[in-house]
Amino acid sequence: MTSARWLLLFAVLAVAGAAGLAIGPVSIGVVDVVRALAGSGDAQSVAIVRDLRLARVCLAMIAGAVLGMSGAALQGTLRNALAEPYLLGVSGGAAMGAVLAVVAGLTAAVALPVAAFGGAASAVALVLVIARVTSGRADPRVLLMAGVVVGAFANAAIMVLLAGAGEGTVRNALWWMMGSVAGAEWVTIRWLAFYALVAGTLLVAVARDIDLLALGEDAAAGLGVRVSSATRRIFLLSALLAAVTVAGAGLVGFVGLVVPAIARAFGIRRARELLLASAVLGAALVVGADVVARTVRAPAELPLGAVTALVGVPFFLVRLRRAA
């Protein structure tokens, strides 16, 4: 990967970030955005940029970066271009945890993210146990199937929970499930950023294992990888990364699937570069999607998860056509 291309990737992210700060119900020029960030603009601009939009942009960047990395790691490790974090039971588990919290009437600010993370982590644990019991090892096919099945079960449970719930509860739960970075809190962001940095670094550290696992189990073993434990470790790291995002921003779908594919279409092959490029591209995609989500029908907001798909699919198709 040439440095010109890396520059292009970061330029895309910078443009998305600038757009995220400048565009909204109140448009603020780029010069005023910079001034507001420095704290020297007019009071209204400072409040909008620093208190509202900066937090949103940061949360969107972290969510996108994490989902992109998680997808890149899983696709190589499970040897499947369709693998993405939400396929692995993470989304279903997180949604079930969140819906339980909503239905139980827990309204504290931390209740929802904690419940969502708890649900996602339980689902991931269940998937790993199923794979262990049925195949005696971390078989990628079993992991994928177990993930889909656990997710389907969780979705059914959600329907049951919501069937008897009031209209407001259903609306709250649905809104969360569609993903949003609107209520971004700095405390959540700091915590997420720390977690993402640690888990992301750990993933980059096992990037070579991901490269080798993508060759197949026996080939990877011949090149010095302990296949089952490496698969399990990468699966767990990726899934927990996704779980944390879900806790912070709800279900922002499609990013983990589409971003690594776009990065690969750019000619990036090595897992380490793919992880980094997917982080940058994922961040740009979600920030861009959030700009669309809050401007298209302003002052109403569109669900972020729907927009990531609407923005991502055309980009994906264009890259796919060029790569073919």
């Binding site: 550290a205 197949g216 189990e217 026996d218 073993a221 011949g222 090149l223 010095g224 092959r269 090595r270």
Partner: protein, 259 residues
């Protein structure tokens, strides 16, 4: 050197042992071939050597390493394996693929450098794959891919090489060239272990043949010792005759039509 001693492997759920007390040695400096019918345990030998199946009892050693306890990455610097089938999930440039053979020489944070590139390039030349380095793995023919994989194994830099059905996908010329190369590599002091169905081919190149049957060694020795009708017929359960290759006098197995 590869030393397999009383190796027993049983796959979960299987009724019989895949390896049932097999013992043999592959010496450096020559080619050793493991042959046998389908299900005789040939591929299990390879899987045991790379730690993909654990031995229920017995031992497998590669050089100074005991496979059960060895650090896998350190062992991959001594032992390189070309498995029967391998398909990268995401196609990559052949050059990058051969460079994967250098991974066992690096930790998580040390970068591959020009020295690794030089080793990879030399390996490609050796395997007759240097003109393929700029191609993508999914654009290679079966024979080209096999040569690129051999280059990757050589790039690992070890002196023990294990190949599972190396002749698959190769036409006659490439097959002979590949086996000739393996012979040359062995003469330089490497240990070469072939797992193969192709008795006639290995009989020409291997110094030592190990015949597996139901997971144990039914016969072992020089091609002349093993390539005999009375040795092979009961193992393959099929009428056979062994003739002489008119050119070099190597034993040639001819399966008969069952009457």
């Amino acid at each position: 050197m590869i030393t397999i001693t009383n190796a027993v492997v049983r796959y979960p759920g299987a009724r019989v042992n895949a390896l049932d007390g097999a013992s043999f040695v592959a010496q450096p400096g020559s080619i050793t071939a493991v042959v046998g019918p389908n299900g005789s345990g040939k591929s299990t030998v390879v899987r045991a050597l790379i730690g993909q199946v654990a031995l229920a009892s017995g031992s497998a050693r590669v050089g100074a390493f005991d496979v059960a306890t060895a650090d896998r990455r350190a062992m991959a610097r001594t032992l390189a394996v070309v498995t029967q089938r391998e398909e990268p999930t995401f196609p990559l440039a052949a050059r990058d693929y051969v460079m994967l053979g250098r991974y066992p020489h690096h930790g998580a944070w040390s970068a591959l450098g020009p020295a690794d590139a030089a080793v990879a390039e030399a390996a490609a030349v050796r395997a007759g794959a240097s003109e393929l380095m700029d191609r993508r793995t999914d654009e290679l023919s079966g024979g080209e891919w096999q040569r690129v994989r051999l280059a990757r194994a050589l790039a690992q830099g070890g002196d023990v090489l294990v190949l599972d059905e190396p002749g698959t996908f190769l036409d006659v010329a490439h097959e002979m060239a590949a086996f000739g190369l393996l012979e040359e590599l062995a003469r330089e002091g490497r240990t070469i272990l072939l797992v193969s169905h192709q008795l006639n081919l290995v009989a020409r190149f291997a110094a030592h043949i190990v015949l597996l049957h139901h997971g144990h060694v039914a016969a072992a020795g020089t091609p002349a010792d093993v390539m005999r009708g009375d040795v092979l017929e009961p193992v393959y359960d099929w009428p056979l005759v062994v003739a002489r290759d008119p050119a070099v006098g190597a034993p040639v197995l001819i399966p008969l039509k069952r009457r």
